[in-house]
């Protein structure tokens, strides 16, 4: 799925009564199936950008358009409820911290990723994903029984569970040691390729970011 952003503006009210611009992106494009890294440190608006692309945050103005298989959708024209459904069906989201539901097993957390797609749960696909991330023997482990690296790998599997067309990854390796970080990055790329999803990953780590085919400096992209 291709992503095209035009004149995107997002501001927040500041405590002193004024407003703070957190996003000001003139133009940004990802081709269908492309893997792109956004490189930027903290406070550069990378999480807000991903939330806006995911429809979690509504921009003040601008356009966020998705297109695939001859279909195109302008996200900002959708109601909140339709945006939620669109997100569930087309987007996968990987958070910096895993954000797994504590009372659910690894398998259930992955299945949860399919629960709001309107499609039937595919246990075989969920199991395949967990095997791909090396947790085939820990399907019924709850997050608390898994290491941080393993938890993040479950989160990767969950993001891919709905066979998304675009995966948004917010510092997916930020909480991991270099060895685990590399493994997780490799898994994300491998699985995105497997399902044919585009990938937009934000990271402050140059070494991680440069492994993707295209790296965009967030400072240049977001002119706040």
């Amino acid at each position: 799925m291709a992503l095209s952003i035009q004149q995107l503006l997002k501001t927040y009210d500041s405590p002193d009564g004024g407003s703070v611009t957190v996003l000001n992106v003139e133009q940004f494009h990802i081709a269908d199936g492309e893997h792109v890294a956004l490189l930027g440190g903290s406070g550069t608006g990378k999480t807000t950008l991903l939330h806006t692309i995911a429809g979690i945050v509504t921009p003040d103005s601008g356009s966020i358009a998705f297109s695939w298989d001859g279909i195109s959708t302008e996200l900002t024209s959708l109601s909140e409820a339709v945006r939620d459904v669109f997100r569930g069906q087309n987007l996968g989201y990987i958070f910096q911290t895993h954000h797994l539901l504590p009372g659910f097993t690894a398998m259930e957390n992955v299945l949860l990723g399919m629960s709001f797609t309107g499609r039937k749960a595919d246990r075989a696909w969920a199991k395949h994903l967990l095997e791909e991330v090396g947790l085939g023997s820990r399907l019924n482990y709850q997050p608390a029984k898994l290491s941080v690296g393993q938890q993040q790998r479950v989160a990767v599997a969950r993001a891919l569970a709905s066979r998304p067309r675009l995966v948004l990854a917010d510092e997916p390796t930020g909480a991991l040691d270099p060895n685990n970080a590399q493994q997780v990055l490799d898994l994300i790329r491998k699985l995105c390729t497997e399902v044919g999803a585009s990938l937009l990953m934000v990271s402050h780590d140059h070494d991680i970011a440069k492994q993707l085919p295209r790296v965009v400096d967030l400072k240049e992209l977001n002119r706040t």
Binding site: T47, A54, V57, D84, G113, F116, A121, S162
Partner: protein
């Protein structure tokens, strides 16, 4: 994962709070269910119109006590009425009566009441045949007597000597004797009615042949009709504790009218482990289960029959013949005073033991039968209550001739507790009730009406208060659902945000929380209904123990199902408050917050 799986997972995460909330719902629903079942079934049980009889004639006093005593066999009889009331019903009010039977109580055996009545209470082919025979007699009597006393058809008095009425009346009178003997086996009063009919028939013959007094002829003829009609109402039936369900024997047969025989209710036989041929001595008043009674009567009752269950209080009693009851001296009018004097006497006689001069032969062992005692020995004992100081006072109310009781208590001293009556129609019942309102010593009540009044004034009022209490408990339970889920929302904000990030809409989140409350309500309500039925079962068992009649606690009707549904809806509504809080949870803020 579907919504229900997600909800159940969430509930399991907060298992302690979930269980406690479910229990609070269950408690409210259980209380309400039990109250509704008890109220409904209590209405049915106590307000039932399904009595085999629609009138109870008894001593003036509490109508409710008369009904409770006769229908549910609880509490002591509130007094006695003269046996003449029974005779009066059989003659003067015979046209209003389909069937009736006298009841006398006062003794018990191991906490089970002995209820004295007549053998006609047990419907048998022989009784049905005898009833048919009496019916024919009555029709025949009408066919002969009515024309004989009708001035239009018998215009001249005295009638000519060749009038066919005279030989017909002679023949009829002969039949009365035979019918009376046959009927006596079912109710000795039938024999007395036919004896009266026979006597009046002879008077009528005499008057028809010799007198010109039209009034005297009419009166004698009417007396014949009343007496035979009375016999018909006395043998009417079948007598049924519940409509269409006469007494049936599981084992044995009915007692005979003049023997110390008894028939056990189904529960008595089962509880006391008694069988045919067993015998026991009853004691006066309510004896305690398993305790020997020092005031036991000498007479031994032999079990000759065990009844099938009737699902009424009759299952808990022992039926005995009325003649046998009258034969026990303590059942006289001066009972209370006498009991005191007997106690004093026994105290005084502790030192010297004197064997009884004439002990009554047990009914189970009729042979060798004691010889008829000389009349002069008994004349002075007819009034048994005059023999306070006689150690053998038990022996002188009757004597046994070939194992059969020959009563020596004059009829005018016979007392009974009540008469169970099935009237011919609602109008007949009203007529009898009205009639006894005019008399000083007896009253007639409709048991169904009395019990309806009782349930209306007592049961419904108190159960309404309890039901309000149950509603309050349910409201508290709903509030506890609200508080429990509301508190959990605070700690579940991130979970909610994650679900939203995964594609759950706000409405979906609202549904999840409301359904979560609904599931708590549903599980609690299901448990509550089960628990409520259990409570009702306990109440039924207690009632069965106390009154011999339980109720159908396993049946749920509209009221309970409505409360069940109401509890679930209330739970969902209680879930709305936290659900709205979850609905407004900010996704971005809660995903970022660490």
């Amino acid at each position: 994962m579907n919504l229900l799986q997600i909800i159940l997972k969430q509930l399991r995460q907060r298992s302690l709070s979930t269980v406690l909330t479910i229990l609070s719902v269950a408690l409210g629903v259980a209380l309400a269910t039990a109250i509704l079942i008890v109220q409904r079934e209590g209405d049915k049980l106590f307000g039932q119109s399904e009595f085999g009889f629609d009138l109870i004639v008894g001593p003036k006093g509490s109508k409710l006590q008369l009904v409770l005593n006769n229908v549910y066999q609880v509490s002591e009889a509130q007094g006695t009425i003269s046996y003449a009331v029974y005779e009066d019903l059989a003659t003067r009010l015979r046209r209003e009566v389909r069937w009736m039977t006298p009841i006398a109580t006062g003794d018990s055996y191991r906490s089970h009441k002995l209820v004295a009545t007549q053998p006609k209470i047990f419907e048998t082919p022989e009784l049905a045949a005898a009833r048919e025979e009496v019916r024919k007699q009555f029709e025949q009597t009408r066919a002969i007597v009515e024309p004989a006393i009708d001035p239009a058809r018998t215009p001249t008095l005295p009638v000519p000597v060749n009038s066919p009425a005279l030989p017909q009346l002679f023949a009829l009178q002969q039949q009365f004797d035979a019918a009376g003997k046959a009927g006596a086996a079912f109710d000795p009063e039938i024999k007395r009615q036919f004896e009266a009919a026979s006597k009046h028939a002879m008077e009528l013959v005499d008057l028809l042949a010799t007198s010109e007094d039209r009034n005297a002829v009419t009166k004698a003829g009417q007396q014949v009709l009343d007496a035979v009609g009375g016999a018909l109402s006395l043998i009417g039936g079948p007598i049924e504790p519940r409509p269409g369900r006469p007494f049936a024997f599981a084992q044995g047969r009915g007692f005979e009218a003049d023997k110390f025989e008894c028939v056990l209710g189904a529960e008595v036989a089962e509880k006391l482990g008694m069988k045919l041929g067993d015998s026991f001595q009853a004691s006066h008043g309510a004896s305690e289960e398993g305790k020997a009674d020092e005031h036991a009567h000498d007479e031994k009752w032999v079990v000759v029959g065990i009844l099938e269950p009737t699902q009424t209080a009759f299952d808990r009693i022992i039926l005995i013949p009325l003649t046998g009851f009258f034969a026990i001296p303590e059942h006289g009018t001066a009972l209370e005073a006498m009991a005191q004097k007997v106690a004093e006497y026994r105290e005084a006689q502790k030192a010297e033991t004197q064997p009884p001069a004439t002990a009554p032969a047990p009914a189970a062992e009729p042979a060798p039968a004691p010889a008829t005692q000389p009349a002069d020995e008994h004349d002075e004992h007819d009034e048994h209550d005059e023999h306070d100081d006689d150690h053998h006072h038990h022996d002188h109310a009757y004597e046994l001739i070939d194992g059969r009781i020959a009563l020596e208590v004059p009829r005018e001293n016979w007392k009974i507790s009540s008469v169970l009556v099935k009237s011919r129609s609602g109008q007949s019942a009203m007529a009898v009730i009205w009639d006894y309102m005019q008399t000083p010593d007896a009253m007639a009540v409709n048991p169904a009406q009395e019990m309806r009044e009782f349930t209306k004034t007592f049961l419904r009022g108190s159960s309404l208060v309890l039901l309000l209490l149950a509603v309050l408990v349910s409201v508290v339970a709903a509030v506890s659902i609200l508080v429990s889920i509301y508190n959990s929302i605070a700690s579940r904000r991130r979970e909610i945000a994650i679900l939203r990030a995964l594609g759950a809409t706000r409405t979906r989140i609202l549904s999840i929380i409301c359904l979560e409350a609904g599931v708590i309500g549903l599980i609690g309500a299901v448990l509550g209904v089960g628990l409520g039925m259990g409570l009702a079962a306990i109440a039924s068992a207690a009632l069965d123990k106390a009154m011999g009649e339980g109720f159908n606690w396993a049946h749920l009707s509209g009221g309970e199902l409505l409360y069940f549904a109401g509890a679930v809806v209330l739970a969902v509504v209680a879930g709305l408050v936290p659900a709205l809080k979850a609905y407004s949870t900010s996704v971005a803020d809660n995903l970022i917050a660490e």
